[in-house]
């Protein structure tokens, strides 16, 4: 079926497009982007007139989520995870391998892909474990993972245990063009820490995780990537010292990329004390840090040092979070809050302009993972995120499509929201509040 989206602003930085254009979709692919395309091109199809306040972008890709299936389906499943993704405006997600069992073999990868195909909403790109069982001892069967559909490797939740294993992984995975996505954290410096090490943790009596615990492992892996010619992607960067290490690596031509989660450029550890002291929805790893770190993340986003915004969507059941701070699991959900936060706190706040946001959330993750998307060129997959940048939204976690409610943003109001999500030419989500003339379609 053909579909002509008319009248909206199109932001497609991969092709240098930013302006009022029409987008013609033919089946699962983009046919043409142009000014005032004749209606006859969509003959027999659907013609959708859009207000110029809407923005058509290549589909947003969240390259760091936890879908919890198999093994922890009480937190999230692949089906609820992709429902959450499309409701948040994401057309694709890459899911971390710390499931139970770990995604270190084709069987688990295939299960995830099967569940994703059954759900038929967002695309799902599994990330395979670096080491067998994520135990940090022996490389997983990486060729098998690649063949089954994994797009990258990570022992997320933990760093790759030793410099030697990180080296071997980068060398070996390089053969398949897969990046090593590193959860940077020196375990000895992290210890039993649950909060950023600094004045806030000191006054709350919480054990600290210093920022350099992250930077030290990032520095290690950047040096390894430089030596072996590998690609390391620094996951959920949070500390200013890590950003410095990444900048140095990039300036030397090392293949290092990095991502920042929305909470690390909007929140600091002040949130641990107020308004709700010891609220476990402020507990994530890496932890909320200080103003200096937050300012560095914003600077890195603005100056291009940061490649990607990824949510580290980490669903946990309410019962698991309703415990002492020390005992609560790390993590917050992010899929359904990321676009409002990014539009409000980055674009409307004047940190970056919209095309740069599209690079951070679509172009760059597609390039790093080497997956389709990130472009509205003729013949590209018709994965599209339509934004309503001026529409305000108040976050209501009770209305999330995902299974879990662990977010510190409940009740916050942001300007900007996803209006619709199109995957492979099919409208998989339409936000009724945005007034967009699209409706979600069954397969």
């Amino acid at each position: 079926m053909k579909r002509l989206l008319r009248g909206a602003r199109v932001v497609d930085p991969a092709n240098g497009v930013d302006g009022l254009f029409d987008v013609l979709i033919d089946g699962a692919h983009i046919r043409k982007v142009g000014r005032d395309l004749p209606v006859s091109l969509a003959e027999g199809g659907q013609i959708v007139s859009l207000d110029p306040a809407f923005v058509i972008c290549p589909g947003f890709i969240d390259m760091h989520v936890h879908l919890r299936e198999p093994g922890q389906e009480h937190k999230e499943t692949v089906a609820t995870g992709v429902a959450s993704a499309v409701a948040g405006g994401f057309t694709a997600v890459a899911c971390m391998p710390n499931t139970k069992p770990v995604n270190d073999n084709a069987g688990v990868t295939e299960l995830i892909l099967k569940k994703a195909a059954d759900a038929g909403l967002a695309r799902v790109y599994p990330i395979g474990a670096v080491s067998r069982g994520q135990a940090g001892e022996q490389l997983a069967d990486i060729a098998e993972l690649k063949q089954a559909g994994c797009v990258a490797l990570s022992d997320d939740g933990h760093p790759v245990s030793t410099a030697l294993l990180a080296r071997r992984a980068m060398e070996y995975a390089g053969m398949f063009g897969m990046p090593l996505i590193e959860h940077c954290e020196d375990p000895s410096l992290k210890g039993e820490g649950v909060a950023h090490e600094g004045p806030m943790a000191a006054s709350l009596g919480l054990k600290g995780i210093p920022g350099i615990a992250e930077a030290i492992t990032a520095g290690r892996d950047i040096l390894i990537a430089e030596m072996v010619g590998g690609h390391v992607h620094v996951a959920h960067m949070s500390a200013w010292t890590t950003l410095e290490a990444v900048r140095q690596g990039k300036s030397r031509g090392v293949k290092v990329t990095c991502e920042v989660a929305p909470h690390h450029f909007t929140l600091t550890d002040a949130l641990l004390a107020a308004p709700v002291p010891y609220d476990t929805d402020t507990k994530m790893n890496p932890p909320l840090r200080e103003q200096r770190d937050l300012a560095a993340m914003l600077a890195g986003i603005a100056d291009g040092s940061v490649d990607v915004i990824a949510t580290d969507h980490a669903p946990h059941h309410a019962d698991e979070k309703n415990v002492e701070y020390d005992r609560a699991p790390f993590g917050i959900v992010g899929l359904e809050t990321a676009i409002p936060i990014a539009l409000d706190k980055l674009v409307h706040a004047g940190v970056i302009r919209l095309p740069r946001l599209v690079e951070l959330m679509s172009v760059n993750p597609a390039a790093i993972l080497k997956v389709p998307g990130g472009s509205l060129a003729e013949g590209a997959v018709a994965d599209i995120t339509i934004l309503a940048p001026d529409q305000s939204v108040t976050i209501d976690r009770t209305a999330f499509a995902g299974k879990s409610r662990n977010t510190p943003y409940h009740g916050w109001t942001f300007r900007g929201v996803a209006a619709a999500t199109i995957v492979g030419g099919r409208v998989v989500y339409a936000n009724p509040a945005s007034g967009i003339a699209l409706a979600a379609e069954a397969r």
Binding site: E197, G198, P199, M200, A201, A202, S203, L204, G205, L206, K207, G208, P210, V276, P277, Y278, D319, N322, V323, E324, Y325, D326, R327
Partner: protein, 325 residues
């Protein structure tokens, strides 16, 4: 004279708050109210029949998730002197043992209708968590590394009793600053009341950013003790040595142990305090602990009175108890 009479005048007021979670939440005026009330309670504790009916008909549950002898005993005696019915619940707590959550335990106890819950728990913020889920007043009897407010109140009372004031005094606190809830509560209280607080310990046991709580930090015992009116020693736990924070107990004592010689730098009328239990020959030499400057056992005695004051004031104090007779 020995009958429970009204000859002691308790303040006809109360803390206008549901819980005592920490010193952080208290105003200067509230702290002074507790200290003044402690004085009246101490008078009761010195009678032959040490009992008033202030909390008659009320049930106080002492919910202890950590082993504690001194604090639990002190609270129990305080409760009994106020004629409360008391119940001690000691719960084995281990992060690896799966079982009922803290919230469920507390809700179950609350369902039985206690008037107050005194909570000791190894996790920082546990009292805050319970205060959100329980309607009963919560008294924090120590939460993890965070606060131990009744300890700070009894310490302040002891200092005021000896020195007549707190403002302007130099207080040196020496020991394991990283793992001490006593430290945090004392720093908050003493700085609110205008003392000059010096904290001292090995750099490995000084939390990053502690100076932002308005204290001088140093690793020189001599600098901390110099001219001090109050020297407060904190307990060193053996497991900290195993954690690599310092090489040996012997070396700790060599560098940080409070000896008579070191104490000479303090003011001649210095008082030496310790929240207990003390490690003789580790953080404090026996001749100091037992010596003329030591007020360690006064602290223990005052602890009962301070806890009586907190229980009384939180239970409504004079607000719904016109008299204590």
């Amino acid at each position: 004279m020995d009958a429970p009479t009204t000859d002691v005048v308790l303040p006809a007021t109360s803390l206008r708050r549901k819980d005592l979670l920490g010193i952080a939440e208290l105003t200067r005026e509230e702290i002074v109210l507790v200290l003044d009330t402690t004085e009246a309670m101490k008078e009761i504790s010195q009678r032959q029949i040490k009992k008033v009916p202030a909390l008659r008909g009320r049930t106080v549950v002492n919910l202890f998730f950590e082993p504690s002898t001194r604090t639990r005993t002190s609270f129990e005696i305080a409760e009994k002197r106020l004629s409360a019915d008391t119940l001690g619940v000691a719960v084995a707590s281990s992060s690896v043992v799966k079982g009922e959550t803290l919230v469920d335990t507390a809700k179950n106890i609350e369902a039985m209708g206690p008037s107050m819950i005194v909570l000791r728990h190894p996790a920082s913020g546990a009292a805050h968590l319970l205060s959100r889920v329980c309607k009963s007043p919560i008294i924090n009897a120590g939460d993890g590394l965070h606060e131990h407010p009744t300890q700070a109140l009894l310490d302040a009372f002891t200092i005021r009793e000896r020195k007549g004031r707190i403002a302007g005094l130099k207080v040196a606190i020496v020991g394991d600053l990283l793992h001490s809830r006593v430290l945090r509560s004392n720093v908050l209280l003493l700085t609110k009341l205008g003392a000059e607080v010096w904290v001292c310990g090995p750099p490995t046991l000084i939390p990053m950013g502690l100076e932002q709580m308005g204290v001088h930090t140093t690793s020189s015992v001599d600098a901390a003790v110099e001219g001090a009116d109050v020297v407060m020693m904190l307990r060193i736990q053996l497991e900290r040595m195993e954690g690599g924070f310092f090489p040996s107990l012997r070396e700790y004592f060599r560098v940080f142990g409070m000896t008579s010689a070191r104490l000479k730098r303090a003011r001649p009328d210095v008082i030496v305090m310790h929240p207990g239990p003390i490690n003789r020959g580790v953080e404090i030499a026996s001749d100091v602990a037992d010596g003329p400057f030591s007020v360690i056992l006064d602290q223990v005695a005052n602890g009962v009175a301070a806890r009586m004051a907190v229980l009384y004031l939180l239970a409504g104090g004079g607000a719904d108890n016109e008299t204590v007779a």
